[in-house]
Symmetry: C2
Subunit: 231 residues, 2 copies
């Protein structure tokens, strides 16, 4: 099984109240991509948040920091202007996901209130418009504690398992794999980022060729505190 | 720019002394993939390690744990049989990367001694055999502290930058992005894993369509201890 990842071009600057699903459908048309069943539409949360009005004015660094603190459920570490936080959703990331890049000067973009629900809404609207059965993944760009560089991960999912549970399945030697849960939606998010590019204003992509069905949520990816060795 | 990810089929069980590059070239032939310039060949370290003889007998859990401790430069956390370690390369992962899945019973696979060099060697041999200019990424499957599920990451690279440094480039609003270093090889590793599948014995894939050149090393991804807030 091979996969393809196609950027969705032609999505204009998104603002509060915009119908993002309709803009994606238009973009698919511009990009000459005809969705088929089991395609995965990957969207950066930034356009989701903007469409949902999850943007706020921040006039300076102090206001930005206060906003990040307000959006955080808890703060794990603080170093200069950088906060490592847990968000209300449970995700652990910098500055509660509040971001000032790719937004007009003087504004910051917050995470969607419920990104799994956002993914589900977008999915239903695209499915209705195009008469297909697809999945939607909403992404953000996260750092990692021990590895330099950022990667895109899933913060919202609809129509896919978040984690592929291979525990108990035999490996290629017939030996039972005892700890193999793959964070499949994070791998999908990373693959999609390869065609999006931070500077190019391509906020969405289609991942085609995966044969996955299921109904996970991105919050399934949150490691419960009692399992967590690094807080 | 779209990308494609193709599994390389037909690579047999690999053992110490095998010419892995030649086996990959044969697999490309079986898979009817004609490599072109700038293709990225992604290989799981497991076959690299086996070809390099980096396997050891472990007769029981105690011997396995001792081997993992011996392979670790330091141990960050210990919980039951799980060690979170830093390897000699600097990577932080479970059990120093020593793994008993997908290997014959009674054996464990270690990480390559120098996975960047392994990637480079495989690259040169494939390039010579097929008269193309490619990149090679060697991967392993790592957990993450705060997110459930494993993802594939790069532990060896040749012919690619490890990190795409967008710092100082303007974003789509013309605003300078100040902290945007993308761990591009980790995203490539994750994308490749989508077609490899843990249980399917497909140890390699081709990622096609990226337009990247550079000469990074996977060890570029190791966050220096002084930047690290979570040890």
């Amino acid at each position: 099984m091979s996969i393809e990842v196609h950027p969705i071009r032609g999505i204009p600057e998104v603002g509060p109240g915009d119908d993002l699903a309709a803009l994606i459908v238009d973009g698919l048309d511009v990009s000459q991509i005809a969705l088929t069943d089991r395609d995965v539409v990957v969207v950066t949360h930034k356009v989701v948040s903007k469409a949902e009005g999850r943007i706020e004015q921040v006039s300076d660094d102090r206001e930005y920091r206060e906003l990040a603190e307000r959006e955080a459920r808890s703060i794990l570490r603080r170093r200069g202007d950088l906060l490592i936080t847990q968000t209300e959703h449970g995700f652990i990331c910098a500055n509660a996901g509040v971001d000032r890049s790719n937004v007009a000067d003087g504004w910051a973009v917050l995470l969607p209130v419920d990104p799994d629900r956002s993914a589900h809404r977008i999915r239903l609207r695209i499915e209705r418009a195009m008469s297909v059965s697809i999945a939607v993944v909403v992404t953000d760009t996260f750092g990692r504690p021990w590895r330099r560089g950022l990667v895109d991960v899933a913060i919202g999912v609809s129509g896919l398992p978040a984690i592929l549970d291979l525990r108990g399945e035999p490996d290629a030697q017939g030996r039972t794999m005892n700890v193999t849960e793959i964070a499949i939606v994070d791998e999908i998010a990373a693959a999609a980022d390869l065609v999006m590019g931070k500077a190019d204003a391509i906020p969405a992509a289609v991942v085609r060729g995966l044969d996955l069905t299921g109904n996970g949520r991105a919050t399934d990816l949150v490691r419960p505190q009692e399992e967590d060795m690094f807080r």
